[in-house]
Amino acid sequence: MTAIAISGAEFLREHLRARMTLAMLVVLPALFVLVSASVLGEFAKALGGSVAGDSASALGAGWAAAFLAGALGFFQVSSSRGADRRLALAGMGAVRVAVARISASVTLGLLISLVAFATLLLAAGVAHPPHAFAAILAFALIYIGIGTLVGSLISDPLEGSLTVAFIFLIDAFSGPGMSGGDGIAQLMPTRKAADVLIAAGAGQGSPTGDWIAVGLAALGALALATIAFWLSARSRSS
């Protein structure tokens, strides 16, 4: 347990050592939420969507957290594959390396979500803050899973970044309040988190079924991410 905690803290420090990276993690979601708060409602209207006002602003916070978390998840795997394998071989084992990595990723996802949520709260106000924060965090966790999975399959940073962006664009464009309605749009990874976030922005609660779906999506994504970290830390011969 101590080894996992120490390694997790080291992984976190490794990520935040570059001050510019830390600055980007804090500034970019805040900037995106601030700027998009005033235009997302109009954008949704142009697309024939129904989301408006505070709900649209809230959705922007979810998107900001998701996009950053996706990149974070991808680079956590793609840039650490060699080091993690050596660490596992040196005695820590692939499972503990994977748990330490996922702990660091979730902590960073929490940081991104907090920044996006705080900006939303200050810039636009949120009628249902706990629900909004939970939904924004779900966006981040789901995209940590997606980014990590992409990172375990694709090692090239340009191809990986574009793949994460490609998935995000399909997800965001087919989301509720934008063009998305029925059919395959219902199966998109952040569909239910977006429903909860939009409802929270409008000051409404969400049905229990939506919360269960959000929880399952976030937990499923984290499980996938853990498996991806484990696979990349595992020795090739084992």
Partner: protein, 248 residues
């Protein structure tokens, strides 16, 4: 161009072609992004102000079609510039140690970035042309090319200054915030105001908006601003790369 620069350029292209997924994504992302954006936008009327100052009545659908091209280009060219130049910084020092001058090492990378930007531009314009035809193609293409090259240079600078991860974070958001929001006539009346007019996307976007909706050309001022941005960024990229590769 010397023989060894040609060889390095050929190797640079071969490196890209070894990644078939990249080629697929450079076509699929613009195709999906632009065609979907146009398809889902309502043709509601929208009054905009052209760079010459005259009002022009268009629709959100047409506006979205036109503006998605530079957003896509800025996003993709920025990431291409970022990772190509990061790769140069990480590996081309060896070329310099082996006898290449920094300029000879840099040139092939820049040719690759330019070629990739042109491919994305061509795909994006082709996809857009299915649903929307600009009033005047030359300024529309020029504005988009300037947007792509400007963001390729910003990506290259980001790679050199804030690293791979910080650069990726930046290039995920900056083109969206600049071209997608601040310069986007879908979200404001008249011309971009205040902070929007000092962003790198201002000049290229005004030039392409002029080309999209006007037969004449009234965007000389924005064109000069765009060229100044591109020149300044290009000089900064060259200086940084020469320093990174050990040149003076």
């Amino acid at each position: 161009m010397t023989g060894r620069v040609l060889t390095a350029t050929r190797m640079g292209f071969r490196e890209q072609l070894r990644r078939p997924l990249l080629i697929v994504l450079l076509v699929a992302v613009p195709f999906l992004f632009i065609s979907w954006s146009i398809a889902i936008t309502e043709p509601t009327p929208r009054m905009i102000e052209l760079p010459g100052g005259e009002p022009f009545l268009t629709t959100m659908k047409e506006l979205h079609g036109a503006i998605m091209v530079p957003i896509t280009l800025g996003f993709l060219a920025g990431l291409i510039g970022l990772f190509t130049i990061r790769s140069a910084i990480e590996s081309d020092r060896r070329l310099v140690l082996a006898g290449f001058s920094p300029g000879e090492a840099i040139a092939p990378r820049l040719v690759v970035v330019l070629a990739a930007t042109l491919i994305v531009l061509a795909v994006s314009l082709a996809v857009m042309a299915i649903d929307f035809t600009p009033a005047s193609w030359p300024p529309f293409v020029l504005g988009n090319l300037l947007a792509g090259l400007t963001y390729a240079a910003i990506g290259a600078l980001a790679g050199a200054l804030v690293g791979r991860l910080g650069g990726a974070y930046l290039m995920f958001f900056l083109p969206m915030l600049d071209i997608g929001v601040a310069q986007n006539p879908m979200f404001f009346e008249g011309a971009p105001q205040g902070w929007a007019s000092v962003l790198p996307g201002y000049g290229p976007t005004r030039v392409l908006v002029d080309g999209a909706f006007s037969q004449g050309f009234d965007a000389l001022g924005p064109l000069l601003v765009a060229l100044a941005w591109l020149l300044g960024l290009s000089v900064a990229v060259l200086v940084l790369l020469r320093r990174s590769l050990g040149g003076r």
